[in-house]
């Protein structure tokens, strides 16, 4: 690196090469050996190429001479090759400080004077002078300035570097050493150059040295120099008797890889870091960690002041779940950035040092949340809130509140002790200790929303609206106990509210995008905390990573790259999330096809901006939908696609969904062993901490009960179910408790004691109505009808009525299983009806049975399919259609055989 002209802009060989190219672009004929004139289209492309070069962020190192050549050839084809050759012949001309000086003097002429207009200038000599204020002009001016402030040592060093730069075009180090004698002849600065006798096989005696030193500017190429030729560059270099500046070994060897490659400008490096951070956050488990690590180590060596590298390291370690290293990096990053207060790099971060502390706490909080340390995260976030309040940092405060909300969602359903702990932890946030955790969450969310609206932080507004909608979706509210809030006094959910909030949020999102929303700069909070938000009811340990500090300078960067700003990105991402939330709401309130529609919208429209978790979720939803409507066989390929897209171990969600599916499948088929294993693994995937991950744990227990039910351990199943119900009730997980109630009813139904099952089913039905869970209600009604049927033939009309009530729902929105169950139950109603007339209703009934059987067969539920076939056979028998009866009974036999086979199977190996 040669000297420093202003902070962050260092004149390097690459930049000199760029300047030469600029000369070729702007005034080809005025260069000292004139460039050949380029066609105007090529010039245009050259300009674009140069522009691109000043802004690329795909790496932090400047390209080598060779790489530059390749890029030139790629972008400009033949013209590029020619330019590269000219460049190669011109660079050696700059072999003394004097020539460098002349060169930069000449560069000044490329800048257009104030009076210059491109139209006027076009007439003479094709020169297209560069406007000083254009991007290229700025670059050129910075180069000239950097050279002007360079010390003599600095320019000397630049010359040395230019030599090394050009020589590196040969990737074979031997080639360099073959040139060695040539380099030595200009051994002017002997303290800079030290050569070793025993490396090359050339031995230098004094004579040879002398001879070489005064070798005239005769022809011959540098390549074949062994026998004393010189390169074209020497013709000029020889003039001042200083042929070439020696270069240190390390530079030639390139093995140290340090000095030969220079950093790009600070802006470019920061852009690179930002991009990498974004990639890290988006592509969970898809980045090669070691490569990034090596990159960062190199970067730290080259630019120790680039503290953001520590941040990237932090993210990287976070992804690898390396807790101590993550802690270390986080603290190091914020310690250093605290000290950077006045001297922020490249104008990208303009926040005061104070803001950094809150950001640090915020990140610490989200880091702990990521690792599942709920208590620690709470403490950190509380402290963030407090410090933000102390320094009147509203933006950070809002973000901290949002992060707290997010945390509370995770712990939300925690047990009582947890809730108590939290209320102590929430002391500083200002909610009273007497409130339950969910009320606290609601209050927090409202506070968050209000603040975000005041501060006009669109992504936060969107986040809080979504979170509110999610809250409404998931929690049954009793409004009475909250002073100042609506006094409904009624227990229930509010689908209308959810719908309203969701619609509102998408309006807001649409607005902010179309308004071209000014990117929010200088904010130190973590935008990405919210990006991880998703509206789904199976959220486990959600990673709350924070790209906020990288995003701090979003604005500045946006103008440079001309892309949509990060904030807009975030908002778009949230818009996508709202669709997922919509899917979740449909799932709860009743329509499976609409779930699919929403998930599909997300997967097709937002896949590029959404966080990987969101995309994953939409994939999972679609796969689940396939399973529900096309059977398991159809879902399997979908999962394979998803697994290919997210290959890392990080995708525990895919695994979870897959396990759920495997479990369902095994239960239907009757493979109990497999079901048990799947259920066990599902339970094991939940966090071991009490009160965390409650949803996943509840689900695992639920599935365990179902396994017990199918395997016939009814007493045990009922006992566990009661326990589960009481724990759900305690944790106020009302929606789950409805499910458990229905399951209990099912258990009793299987135990053939329909009387005892009825109260459970009725309770479940009532709750479904209250909570507006239409789909579940339909399912409850079917269960109820089945129970009535179990009570005896006399209750068949009542059951029929119930089934007919829920038919629209089932046919319109239900999945395969529900439909099959309804069909079978309907058929049974008809058959057990005493007033059943074979003539009028037989065909109808047979049709229903046929449908049910087919659907069950798709689901591979042999037991129920068998039942359907059995009934069919009975009907045919009564109708005395022997042939059809035989077909049906054969099908029945087939089903029973498969069932027996499955039940006997010892298969307990989970498919991967």
């Amino acid at each position: 690196m040669a000297g420093s002209g202003g902070r962050g802009f260092v004149l390097t060989s690459h930049k000199v090469a760029m300047c030469i190219l600029m000369h070729a672009y702007a005034a080809p004929s005025s260069a000292s050996p004139p460039f050949c004139a380029l066609p105007s289209s090529a010039r245009h492309r050259l300009a674009l190429f140069l522009l691109d070069q000043t802004r690329v962020t795909d790496g932090f190192l400047e390209p080598t001479f060779e790489e530059l050549g390749e890029e030139l050839k790629e972008d400009l084809s033949d013209v590029g090759g020619m330019l590269f050759e000219q460049l190669g012949s011109r660079l050696p001309l700059l072999c003394t400080p004097e020539e460098l000086f002349q060169f930069f003097q000449g560069l000044k002429e490329l800048l257009a004077p104030a009076s210059y207009t491109s139209e006027g200038g076009r007439g003479d000599d094709e020169s297209l002078l560069i406007q000083p204020n254009s991007l290229l002009g700025q670059f050129l001016r910075r180069c000239i300035l950097a050279f002007n402030v360079l010390s003599f040592e600095g320019s000397g060093r630049l010359v040395v570097e230019l030599n090394a730069y050009r020589w590196l075009e040969s990737s074979d180090p031997r080639g360099i050493f073959e040139d060695r004698d040539d380099m030595i002849e200009g051994d002017v600065f002997d303290d800079e150059y030290e050569y070793e006798e025993d490396i090359g096989d050339l031995s230098l005696d004094g004579m040879n040295d002398l001879e070489l030193r005064f070798r005239g500017p005769a022809g011959g190429s540098r390549r074949g120099l062994q026998s004393g030729g010189t390169d074209p560059g020497r013709q000029l270099g020889g003039r001042s008797n200083v042929a070439a500046f020696p270069i240190p070994h390390a530079a030639i060897l390139g093995e140290s890889g340090v000095k030969t490659r220079s950093l790009r400008t600070v802006e470019q490096v920061e852009g690179f870091l930002k991009e990498q951070a974004g990639l890290l956050e988006k592509g969970v488990g898809r980045m090669p960690k070691e490569e990034l690590d090596a990159n960062l180590t190199q970067l730290e060596k080259l630019a120790p002041e680039m503290v953001r590298a520590h941040y990237l390291r932090y993210l990287n370690h976070l992804q690898q779940s390396d807790y101590p290293a993550t802690m270390d990096d986080l603290h190091r990053y914020f310690d250093y950035s605290a000290g950077m207060g006045g001297m922020s790099a490249g104008g990208a971060s303009c926040d005061s040092s104070v803001g950094r502390f809150q950001a640090g706490l915020l990140s610490l909080g989200s880091m702990h949340a990521h690792f599942g340390h709920v208590d620690q995260a709470m403490q950190a976030l509380n402290e963030a809130v407090r410090i933000a309040q102390q320094y009147n940092d509203d933006a950070c405060l809002a973000h901290a509140l949002a992060a707290l909300c997010h945390m509370l969602f995770d712990v939300g359903a925690g047990n009582e002790t947890y809730a108590k702990g939290e209320s102590a932890g929430l002391r500083d946030v200002g909610t009273g200790p007497s409130l339950g955790i969910q009320q606290q969450l609601l209050l927090l969310l409202r506070r968050c929303l209000r603040r975000a609206l005041e501060l006009k932080l669109p992504q936060l507004v969107a986040f809080s609206r979504l979170a509110l909608a999610k809250f409404d979706l998931k929690h049954v509210r009793r409004f009475s106990s909250l002073g100042g809030l609506e006094n409904g006094g009624q227990l229930g959910t509010s689908p209308l509210e959810v719908c309203k909030t969701l619609r509102l949020s998408s309006y807001l999102l649409g607005d902010s995008i179309s308004n071209g929303m000014s990117p929010h700069t200088g904010m130190s909070g973590n935008h990405a905390t919210m990006n991880q938000q998703r509206g789904n009811n199976m959220n486990g340990n959600q990673p709350l990573t924070a790209a906020g500090n990288m995003a701090g300078g979003g604005g500045a960067w946006t103008t440079l790259t001309g892309r949509l700003g990060r904030t807009s990105d975030t908002v778009v991402k949230l818009a996508g999330t709202s669709h997922l939330l919509r899917a979740a709401s449909w799932e709860l309130y009743g329509s499976v096809p609409l779930v699919r529609v929403s998930a599909l919208i997300h997967a097709t429209c937002y896949a590029d901006v959404a966080s990987s978790d969101d995309v994953l979720l939409s994939y999972v939803k679609l796969a689940q939908h396939l399973a529900a409507f096309r059977g398991y066989a159809a879902a399997q390929p979908a999962f394979e696609v998803a697994a290919k897209r997210f290959p890392a171990a990080a995708n525990s969600w895919i695994r979870t969904a897959q396990l759920q599916l495997i479990h369902d499948h095994a239960l239907h088929r009757g493979e109990l062993k497999l079901a048990q294993v799947a259920c066990g693994e599902l339970a094991a995937s939940a966090s071991p901490v009490i009160g965390v991950d409650m949803e996943r744990k509840t689900e695992a227990t639920f599935r365990h009960i179902r396994t017990l039910l199918v395997s016939g351990h009814l007493d045990e199943a009922a006992a566990v179910a009661r326990l589960l119900f009481s724990s759900c009730y305690k944790a106020s997980m009302q929606l789950e408790s409805v499910l458990v109630l229905l399951l209990l009813a099912d258990i009793h139904k299987t135990a053939d004691s329909a009387v005892t099952g009825l109260p459970y089913a009725l309770a479940g039905l009532t709750l479904c109505q209250v909570f507006s869970l239409d789909w579940l209600q339909a399912s409850a009604k079917v269960t109820l009808a089945e129970l009535w049927l179990g009570l005896g033939v006399g209750h068949a009309p009542r059951a029929l009525l119930l089934l007919q009530q829920c038919l629209p729902m089932v046919l319109g929105h239900g999945g395969l299983e529900l439909r099959a169950r309804t069909n079978l139950a309907l058929a049974r109603c008809y058959l057990s009806d005493p007033s059943f007339s074979a003539e009028t209703q037989m065909e109808n009934t047979l049709d229903l049975l046929q449908q049910a059987a087919e659907e069950f067969e798709i689901l591979e539920d042999f037991a129920l399919a068998g039942e359907a076939y059995y009934l069919q056979a009975l009907c045919f028998d009564r109708w005395s259609c022997v042939e059809e009866r035989n077909i049906a009974s054969k099908a029945f036999q087939r089903c029973m055989q498969s069932l027996n086979l499955a039940q006997a199977s010892e298969n307990a190996i989970l498919p991967l």
Partner: protein
């Protein structure tokens, strides 16, 4: 073993000084010479006498002794053979190169050594090249340095040197010195494991190179690394182990080792200085001060390690002595980072923090890796309420040496000042990991937990208990424990700790408000528990002091008296009733 040991040591050291000097390893030579002079004086008679001794020894138990000496002798022999193998012409070239080397013209020296094949010449050539690179690097640092000396300047010779040395090493052409240089270069190239192996090999074949030991010490950042080292037994190893123990903050063990070494080298300044440092680390300032004074008496122009002495003087608030030391150091050598540090300490003591920072900055300019200057500068920034700068300074100290518990502690303190106790906890935890037996660390952590923001009292109590168990000299922990227990309503435990605190304060003859508070609480507690006599004793003791407590005590005494009288009357009534 002492006299014969001393004899061999003397012989070995004499030879070592010569050999090290011949290779331009001046620091190691200096160290060896210091130890040579510091050897047991009884055997420091004339050479004739020692020869006689030598002869006698050989007669008596020659075989045994020889067996013990063989590795060392073999190494020496090897070196001698190599020394003699150079031809005359080469010898002349070597002389020229040495002269260049001594005038710090490293490139010329390396050039003059071109083509010479002797081991000494090869080493000197490599070493000169390395130093030339270092010199260049330092010049570059001045040119390219960013704020506060962070820069990316590297020694450009490292790569090529590494390549050559490794090829020589593969053909096992490297002698102990070559391996030392190779180790140094490997370390700078961040290949720590290989560097460790190389340096071990070097000190095993030539143990008298103190610089090699120091390099090895710098690599032993962890006790585990030390245990994994394969080191031959040698008395130089004892020096290394002692020094390493100090570095790893295992001060008492280090001190014990130095004391046993002291028997052999009673006049060694090095041992004296290290002992002083050990005492300083153990916070035995008086001992340390005495030792440093002794050191300065013997070696009045010494600057090495004097910054530690200045720290002691700072802690003891010896203005005059500190200013004297600073003045003397300036006269001796102005541009030494230690000197600047001493001056910085002086200004810090005078509460002129800006000036102090100036001098610490100068010290860092002279040596950017000067650990204590970073930490001390951090302290100054804290005093100046410039917290970001303080954090930056501390952080750099920690990055240079992650075992610098002072800097970790300082970071924690700074964040605590910023009212971020939770964030500070991380740093205190790091500090306690490094000094698990330092009560101050535990107290600091306890304070964080206890702070009104966190209010995690259980954790705080645990921390303070650790502090008490680790001999908390300032006595913060006992009082805090007592108060915490009072606040939590655990009066019994509170009384226990108040009593302990009383004992401590009585032993220290410390009669502050704390003392009165403790007495008052204990009086109250005893009274409520019904042991009125005890309560009376406590209350009367409070009466010695003024202030509102006195009135409280008086009131309590009155109450006690009335209760006592009441009880007396009751008793008398009962006795009256029982005796009709």
């Amino acid at each position: 073993m002492a006299p014969t040991g001393a004899l061999t040591h003397r012989r070995e050291l004499r030879r070592a000084v010569r050999q090290l000097r011949a290779r331009g390893l001046y620091v190691a030579a200096k160290w060896a010479a210091e130890q040579l002079v510091g050897l047991n004086e009884k055997t420091s008679g004339g050479s004739v006498e020692s020869k006689v001794d030598n002869a006698k020894v050989k007669e008596s138990g020659g075989i045994e002794l020889r067996a013990r000496r063989t590795p060392a002798e073999r190494a020496e022999a090897g070196v001698e053979v190599e020394e003699s193998e150079d031809s005359d012409q080469d010898e002349d070239a070597l002389l020229l190169a040495r002269s260049y080397f001594d005038t710090r013209e490293y490139r010329r020296a390396a050039h003059a050594l071109q083509g010479l094949s002797g081991r000494k010449a090869t080493f000197l050539r490599f070493y000169a090249t390395y130093l030339a690179g270092e010199k260049r690097k330092e010049e570059d640092v001045v040119d390219l340095a960013g704020p506060l000396g962070k820069s990316d300047a590297v020694n450009l010779e490292l790569a090529s040197l590494e390549q050559e040395l490794s090829s020589l090493h593969r053909t096992s052409m490297l002698d102990a010195f070559g391996m030392y240089l190779y180790g140094v270069i490997l370390r700078e190239r961040d290949k720590h494991a290989e560097a460790c192996v190389m340096l071990c090999a070097s000190v095993n074949s030539y143990p008298w190179n103190w610089s090699a030991w120091l390099e090895l010490q710098a690599l032993c950042t962890d006790p585990d690394i030390f245990h994994s080292l394969d080191l031959k037994d040698h008395w130089m190893r004892d020096f290394f182990v002692a020094s390493l123990f100090l570095d790893l903050q295992r001060n008492s063990e280090g001190l014990a080792r130095y004391q046993s070494l002291y028997l052999l080298f009673p006049g060694s300044d090095h041992i004296l200085a290290q002992t002083a440092v050990a005492h300083y680390n153990l916070r035995e300032f008086d001992d340390a001060e005495r030792l440093f004074e002794e050191l300065l008496r013997v070696d009045p122009y010494r600057i090495e390690g004097m910054d530690t002495y200045s720290n002691i003087l700072y802690v003891k608030e010896c203005f005059a002595a500190l200013s004297h030391l600073a003045h003397k150091s300036v006269l001796t050598e102005k541009y030494r980072s230690e000197t600047c540090c001493i001056i910085g300490n002086y200004y810090s003591l005078k509460a002129q923090h800006e000036k102090a920072v100036l001098y610490f900055k100068r010290a860092l300019r002279l040596n950017p890796k000067f650990l204590s200057a970073w930490t001390l500068m951090g302290h100054e920034f804290v005093e100046m309420k410039n917290t970001p700068a303080a954090i930056d300074a501390y952080r750099r100290a920690v990055d240079i040496n992650p075992r610098d518990y002072r800097a970790w502690y300082g970071l924690g303190q700074t964040y605590e000042i910023l009212a971020m106790p939770y964030y500070a906890l991380y740093y205190y935890r790091r500090a306690t990991q490094l000094r698990p037996h330092d009560a101050r660390m535990w107290c600091a952590m306890g304070q964080c937990y206890e702070s009104e923001q966190l209010q995690i009292y259980d954790a705080a109590i645990r921390c303070y208990k650790r502090a008490v168990n680790n001999n908390d000299r300032e006595g913060i922990a006992l009082n805090k424990l007592a108060k915490l227990h009072v606040n939590l309503g655990r009066h019994e435990q509170a009384a226990f700790y108040f009593r302990k605190n009383l004992e401590r304060m009585e032993a220290d003859q410390n009669e502050s408000q704390e003392y009165v508070d403790a007495l008052l609480f204990l009086g109250n507690y005893s009274k409520n528990n019904g042991s009125l006599d005890e309560a009376e004793i406590y209350c009367t003791r409070v009466l010695d002091y003024g202030g509102p407590a006195k009135e409280d005590a008086k009131a309590m005494l009155r109450e006690i008296r009335s209760v006592q009288q009441h009880e007396d009357t009751l008793l008398s009534m009962e006795s009256e009733r029982s005796t009709p």
